[in-house]
């Protein structure tokens, strides 16, 4: 196994899937010659040529719309939207078509495409480069929405997303593109879409998060143990839609206490759905109200204040302590 960053691991996933299946086509702005602005598609064009790695004109609607046509034909396009802040340009193609063509054609066609896009704060980028708006996709019937939290699961989930017969929105937490390395096996590895994971076991409190927020969440969990001997169970959602509520419901049935963490704005955010599922399925086990630690209901500030905006271990700890002490 080699230690890889998430960028390298994603590149490996693409490379291997392109090799396995000549229907896999990578497309987007600057994904070819330039290798992607974050280098996720680095050197794919050298190995697979211009016909498998398409540098497209600057038009998100057409990137996604063309991918829909290719996918219906039977190819497996993986299109990159350079930043999630520019995926709203193609929102209608996803809502009007990608999410519906299977249903609208009564199963005759399907859209096995992936829309990859970096999201979230933490890299001191320009405006529109740091938002987290996974709800737009997660609320849209017909879509799947996946968010990895580290190199290894990023690679395995991207492979699954490419093979999935339905359209998958694949949000890549850019804050951890290069923040750390993990062992990633050269040998093929897949992970099921629609399944979350317990990444730390514990019986005192359940912490639910995903993406780049897993790191501060785990930090907080470690500190809870260290300082107070509290055993937090930490769940990494991995898939946002369809949401795997079984695992976190079971966990909260055991702990009775929960904190949900995300960087997306709070109101109508992902935590609301998670908390509501817990209300529906674990109400009688809840000892105290569930806390959510989230971005605020404001535009993501420019980067000098992004750390202040983003949840960090301390903010998560405050919430955990509240849940533990009330």
């Amino acid at each position: 196994m080699t230690k890889m960053t998430m960028v390298q691991a994603l590149n490996l996933a693409l490379r291997q899937e392109m090799k396995n299946d000549d229907g896999v086509i990578v497309m987007g702005e600057d994904v070819g010659v330039d290798g992607g602005v974050f280098r996720v598609t680095d050197a794919l064009i050298d190995q697979f040529g211009e016909d498998r790695v398409l540098d497209t004109p600057l038009a998100e609607t057409a990137i996604v719309g063309m991918a829909i046509g290719m996918a219906v034909y039977g190819l497996k396009p993986v299109c990159e939207i350079q930043f999630s802040g520019f995926s709203y340009q193609n929102f209608h193609q996803i809502e009007n078509h990608a999410a519906r063509l299977r249903w609208r054609s009564q199963g005759r066609f399907n859209v096995p495409m992936v829309m990859r896009t970096p999201y979230g704060g933490g890299v001191r980028a320009l405006e529109h480069h740091s938002e987290s708006r996974e709800v737009y996709w997660a609320h849209t019937p017909g879509l799947k929405m996946v968010i990895p939290s580290g190199p290894r699961n990023a690679r395995a989930l991207l492979v699954s997303a490419i093979r999935d017969p339905d359209p998958v929105i694949f949000y890549e937490p850019k804050a951890i593109y290069r923040a750390f390395r993990e062992e990633v096996p050269e040998k093929e590895e897949v992970m099921p879409i629609g399944k979350s994971q317990i990444v730390r076991e514990g019986g005192d409190l359940t912490m639910i998060s995903y993406g780049a927020m897993m790191r501060p969440t785990l930090e907080a969990a470690a500190e809870l143990k260290e300082k107070d001997g509290v055993e937090a169970e930490v769940i990494d959602l991995l898939t946002i839609a369809p949401l795997d509520d079984e695992l976190f419901v079971q966990s909260v049935q055991k702990t009775g206490r929960a904190v949900v963490v995300h960087e997306a704005p709070r109101s109508f955010g992902p935590a609301a759905e998670i908390i509501t599922r817990l209300m529906e399925k674990a109400f009688y086990y809840l000892e105290v109200p569930i806390e959510r630690v989230t971005g605020f209901d404001i535009n993501m500030p420019l980067f000098s204040r992004e750390k202040a905006y983003l949840p960090d271990a301390k903010r998560i700890l405050r919430a955990a302590n509240k849940v533990l002490t009330t």
Partner: protein, 368 residues
């Protein structure tokens, strides 16, 4: 280095072969086998009569809202006739005669306009898309299909339809640009029927023609008399051949007219005059083509009468079949189908809860 005019390689042409009187420009007459001519005529007739019948059904409350095609038969049929069955056909929502030409059953149209998803029933061997309601959004899909065909070394082309209004959408622009940049084998057929609901073509854009929008993409653009099926066919044939042989995309503007309402929810009296509509009655594509065929000796009054009743019967029996079939489309629970390849757990829960509700409520919570 004075101000100099830049010469643009692509020119915009106009084709007309059969004029309003049905007179032929011999020099341009396409070479169409008699059999195909007759099939096209029958398809136009069927399209027209079916459309009229749908309007009746709608007025009787026997189907829901739909978009009539009356007057535009030459535009969409002439273009579709230039395709091979294995080519990709991507309609907007006003190409019913062409959909039927391609193999869609009349009953599926009726079922669809009765609000049943089952009205989309695309055979496994068909490459036809279902109608697309969001204006202009389907254009780019054809580019993706055509790209994929070329990638798979098939010589399939894709043909996509849209209206004059659709040319204002960003999707039109992005789609045509991609097609030209990637030189995909796709034919863009704009049915310029002069109206986008209440918006006349003249206010939709200030360009003199829609065809000239092709110049923005370095793509051939051509305007044809869309009520002249020979002209449409000739232009489409040329574009299909170019695309199939690797010559890239073409934009075809078919100048036609929407004779009827936009949809059955629309009242054109609010925005256009009877005189304008009258003008266009004279340009009826069927009458013109019929005269040509009679002049050519492939059609007779007798034969027309025969076709008339044949087509009417076909329509009637489709209506009967559709109505019978719809009686079997009872189960509202079927709405959970086809959302994903495999139903995720939470959706299963919803479906089961709905099934329990249905059971409790009996027949009463059923489809309309």
């Amino acid at each position: 280095m004075p101000r100099k005019e830049i010469s643009i390689p692509d020119k915009i042409e106009h084709i007309s072969i059969l004029n309003e009187e049905g007179e032929l420009d011999k020099a341009l007459e396409p070479d169409i086998p008699e059999d195909l001519l007759l099939r096209l005529f029958r398809a136009m007739l069927l399209g027209r009569k079916f459309d009229e019948r749908l309007l009746n059904l709608q007025r009787q409350g026997r189907i829901g809202t739909f978009a009539p095609t009356n007057g535009q038969e030459a535009a969409h049929l002439g273009a579709a006739a230039a395709l091979l069955p294995s080519d990709w056909f991507v309609p907007a929502f006003r190409e019913t005669a062409a959909e039927i030409w391609r193999g869609r059953t009349l009953e599926s149209v009726i079922i669809y306009y009765n609000g049943f998803n089952e009205g989309v029933d695309i055979p496994e061997d068909s490459n036809d898309f279902p109608v697309s309601v969001p204006v202009g959004s389907q254009i780019i899909h054809a580019v993706g299909l055509a790209w994929a065909a070329r990638y798979r070394q098939k010589d399939d082309v894709a043909m996509v339809f849209f209206g004059d209004g659709a040319t204002s959408e960003g999707d039109f622009h992005e789609g045509l640009n991609f097609a030209s940049v990637f030189q995909t084998p796709v034919i863009f057929v704009c049915q310029n029927n002069h109206w986008a609901i209440s918006m006349p073509r003249s206010k939709q854009t200030r360009s003199k023609t829609l065809a000239q929008k092709a110049l923005a993409y370095g793509m051939p653009g051509i305007q044809v008399d869309g009520n002249d099926i020979l002209a449409v066919y000739a232009a489409a044939q040329e574009a299909v051949n170019r695309a199939r042989s690797g010559g890239g995309p073409t934009l075809i503007e078919c100048v036609t007219y929407r004779m009827a309402v936009h949809t059955t929810a629309d009242d054109p009296k609010r925005y256009r005059t009877e005189e304008e509509v009258e003008q266009w009655k004279k340009r009826d594509p069927i009458i013109r083509f019929q005269k040509y065929l009679i002049d050519k000796g492939v059609l007779s009054e007798n034969k027309i009468a025969g076709l008339d009743s044949e087509v009417e019967e076909e329509i009637q029996s489709a209506i009967d079949r559709a109505e019978a079939h719809m009686k079997t489309l009872g189960d509202p629970i079927d709405m959970f189908k086809h959302t994903y390849a495999e139903m995720p757990p939470f959706l299963k829960e919803q479906k089961e809860a709905f099934a329990r509700e249905l059971a409790e409520r009996g027949e009463e919570k059923n489809h309309d």
